[in-house]
């Protein structure tokens, strides 16, 4: 119960902090974590980081 209350308090603080942060500065793109594949440049695929196998316009 003690741990649960602590989590609840931390979650509430985190949520309020996030909302407050929305009023400071400017929105920024949330990057894909570095451990994941994302649209970052690739050696063979170029700037898009992906090789389009099939495309229909």
């Amino acid at each position: 119960m003690k741990c649960y209350m602590m989590m609840l308090r931390i979650a509430t603080a985190a949520g309020l902090t996030a909302l407050a942060a929305c009023g400071i500065g400017k929105p920024m793109e949330i990057p894909v974590p570095q451990s994941e594949l994302g649209p970052t440049p690739g050696y063979f695929t170029g700037d898009s980081g992906e090789w389009v196998i099939y495309r229909q316009k």
Binding site: A11, I24, K26, I30, V32, E36, I53
Partner: protein
Amino acid sequence: MFSPRQRESGGTAIGNGSKVRPRGSLVCCAVAHGSVAATLLWAIPVHATDDVTSLLGQVKKQLEQSQRQMEQSQRQLEQSQKEIKALKRQVEVLTKRVEQTPAAPAPGAVPAPDAKNVVVMQQPGNLPGRSVGPPTTATGVGPPGAPQPVAAAPVSSGGDKIKISLSGQVDRSEVYGDDGISKNFRNVDNNTSSTRFRIVGEGRANPETTLGTNLEMEVRANPSSTTTLVQNAPQAAANVFPTIRQAEVFAAGRDWGGLRLGFGSTASYLTSEFDLSGTFIAQYVVISDEDGGFAFRQKGAALVPGGPGGRLVLSPNGAFGPAVGSVFNSFNGLVRNDRVRYDSPVWEGLQFSTSYVDDGSWDAALRLGRAIGPFRVIAAAAYANADHRNHTPVADLGYAGVPAGFPDGASLGGVNANPSAPNIADNTADGSQQFDGSFSVLHDSGVSLTMAGGIRNPRYRDPLGKPLSPNLLYAKLAYQHNFFNFGATAFGVDFENQDDVIFNGDVARSWSLGFVQNIDTTATELFLAAEWETLKRSLGGEFFPPFEARAGARIRF
């Protein structure tokens, strides 16, 4: 002609002394001369007339030709004027269209709250066409500088109605390890970001909605998370682990966000991994990914509660104790599972996500990205409820080497069992509720601070029946700069402390130095790292601190 002296004599000599001819001959001469003259006079005008006529004809022809050329030029001029008028009309039409289209804000600029017809410059919920990894959007972390806005996914796919694409990476490293008793080199797949590929299919149902599929697999030969230092050497060629990472279908809309169904990242996955340091591939919060299979070797003989009912038995010096992956856990939420997941559109850099897993577990997460003056800040927090899940108790107290006297183990003769595999305990969120989060701040100068933390409320106890309160604290200080024109350089130092992950009283700590050199033209990250880990346990004696140095490369293809 004739002088006066010639007329008075009737045949006077001409002044020059010659005699004058008679009158008849004069007439004949005159007539002859006159004829010749007349002929000449007649011929010359005729010839002259012919020339003039011809000349006139030529002039006339030239005039006609010139006139035709003028007419042609006139026609061409008229045609050009028509074309110019048509182009002017086109320009007017396009100008009107541009005026009607909402202008995108300048990079880093935020439209006023009451602004209308504003182009959405943030991607709603990691929609396909940009990234289908969990859960966030668009491009990776760039060098220090102004944040770059990215258009929303349904527009950014370049006008494709349907697109199928392939992407992936290879990530390998050579590791040197010293567990205090044994030293060895291992060639491993860097589980920090394993070798993998994915195929993404996207189709635009309408200009605002995208439907698609995401299939991602990793192929890890000798994964660094489970490869031991000496226990499973020499390594069998069959030690390859193909794993499904994502197998899902999704739908996404600019206004309502995205929905995913299938096996894939849950909402809370990766919320402890937010990192702008640039050294992620060398050192990060998931210690178990880096050398999870290495064992803490027992330092000296010790009595451990290995007998029936927790009776103490003798464990010899050098026994293979808990694996690194047993006592370190990054509190990464519900990881990947069969789930339904929803991601909201991004509002002011804030995004909400939630998922419901097949076994009844669920989670919720918030993600944030803001630029505050010279600082770029990203943060995440998540709650995961996996009470429904079964927790697998750790086998053999977490010892890979069965202590002497343990049921079905070696005898009390001090024989140190030499197991062929690490003993990696179930230290996930199974059977517990968990809260975790991380944030990373990057200054324009290149200095960054990254922190992560988590607490867990398990419904189970440790193998000796004592309560557990697992927690995580991680911090990294790093610096990145473009020392070379071929890519950014980054280096950092980090520290991690974890308590009570599988045993009451366990304190596991890690220190590391990391270095990363990017080579942009080949999408390569070269990395070097050195890491020390310690484990203090309230029972069972002490353990040698394993040391690990690793060097490798990740190439995205």
